[in-house]
């Protein structure tokens, strides 16, 4: 069985265990064992760079852990994916920086080479569509809307995956579950989760725009594949309802909807505890 290290990122690690659980269950059906990453740290995201000129050490640390184990990485969150890929690009381009980073990593017994590939769950699943077809058991009779994780496609010079303005891959995967994907005006807009760090009002209004537009288009659920999207679109729905009381849209993680179409037990997908 192919093995990959699962890089959950601290938001999913801390709050959305159901996403990790479902991702592992679905990847296993696709022939991939998602191995836990020991001693993994925060990816650095866009949090650390303004505070530290050494920020690259943190993602390089995570990447070198994977290299030591000889595995490629599968990520669940957009920001982690972008930060890890940006780091790889910076270190491939700048030999001096790589040398400096390796001096820091030596202090914790590690070394960075640049050999571990980093792919988000959408990328991994979309490269296994034949296996998805083989595991398919039941057509899902529901209408869903999609929330595309910005950082999996953008910046496109770094991510080099899918269409940066109107991504298609998530749609292809969800199509394979038999669920009907409904288009909505705000589909390609950002969920706004990171704005929670500066203005809850902005974040809630960004989430409201998406939830309302999807609801009006007839969606019965929203499919997400990033912890941040789930955070603002689902966990903050109570606050959204303070502005627009009628909004109530279930939000489901990508591997949960795929898992349902594979006939995987709801409990194993974290849909029931």
């Amino acid at each position: 069985m192919e093995q990959r290290l699962l890089f959950p990122g601290c938001l999913i690690l801390a709050r959305f265990q159901q996403y990790e659980l479902a991702a592992k269950a679905v990847l296993a059906k696709l022939g991939i064992e998602a191995v836990d990453m020991q001693a993994v740290a925060c990816c650095a995201s866009s949090i650390v760079p303004p505070f530290s000129v050494d920020w690259v050490n943190l993602p390089a640390y995570n990447l070198s852990l994977a290299e030591r184990q000889g595995f490629d990485i599968v990520t669940l969150c957009g920001s982690c994916t972008r930060t890890l890929r940006l780091t790889q690009e910076m270190l491939a381009r700048d030999a001096g920086l790589k040398e400096t980073v390796n001096r820091s990593l030596a202090a914790v017994g590690l070394a960075y080479q640049g050999t571990a590939k980093v792919s988000h769950l959408i990328e991994v699943i979309s490269s296994k569509m034949e296996e998805v077809g083989k595991s398919f058991r039941q057509k899902l009779d529901m209408r869903v809307s999609l929330s595309h994780p910005c950082n999996v496609m953008r910046p496109s010079q770094v991510m080099k995956f899918d269409d940066p303005w109107e991504p298609k891959k998530l749609r292809e995967i969800v199509h394979a579950t038999g669920a009907r994907v409904v288009d909505y005006d705000q589909e390609y807009e950002c969920c706004g989760a990171t704005l929670l760090m500066v203005s809850e009002d902005w974040a809630i209004r960004a989430a409201l725009a998406k939830l309302k537009s999807a609801t009006l288009a007839g969606a019965e659920a929203m499919v997400v594949s990033c912890g941040n999207c789930f955070l603002v679109l689902k966990s903050m729905q109570d606050k959204v309802r303070k502005i627009e009381p009628g909004i109530s849209l279930p939000v489901i993680f990508l591997p949960q909807i795929i898992g349902l179409s594979f006939g995987i037990d709801k409990k194993a997908l974290g849909l029931e505890q």
Binding site: L13, A14, Q17, A39, P49, C150, C190, L195, W202, Q273
Partner: protein
């Protein structure tokens, strides 16, 4: 290449649409501050016809502006134990979900990697 102040990035920015001022306003001299006002969507970068390095412009500008409280707390969290979100009870919660326990990184490693910690 240099920024030509064409405002294209600004027209794609979520913060601007919500009525705020982001780095895209700063670049276009419509505001002095705003680098922290950002949803990390990177539409500005993909939209820029000059391929101007907006990412580093954001980081450099953030280093000059006062960080919002949530960012300062997030950075403090990373320094404290390696993660932004509270993670102390992690392995108990993982067990409840039937997930294996995992080893956490700890502050010693972080302090060796990020000297500002």
């Amino acid at each position: 290449m240099d920024c030509t102040k064409c405002s294209i990035c600004r027209s794609r920015c979520l913060v601007e649409r919500l009525g705020g001022a982001s780095i895209t306003s700063v670049l276009n001299e419509a505001a002095e501050k705003g680098a922290w006002n950002c949803s990390n969507c990177w539409k500005c970068i993909d939209a820029c016809p000059q391929e101007f390095d907006i990412y580093n412009a954001i980081i450099e500008k953030r280093r000059l502006e006062e960080a919002p409280r949530a960012y300062r707390e997030a950075f403090a969290g990373i320094c404290r134990n390696g993660y932004i979100f509270p993670i102390e009870e992690l392995n108990t919660i993982r067990e409840m979900w039937g997930l294996n326990k995992i080893e956490l990184v700890g502050p010693e490693v972080i302090r060796k990697l990020i000297k500002e910690c």
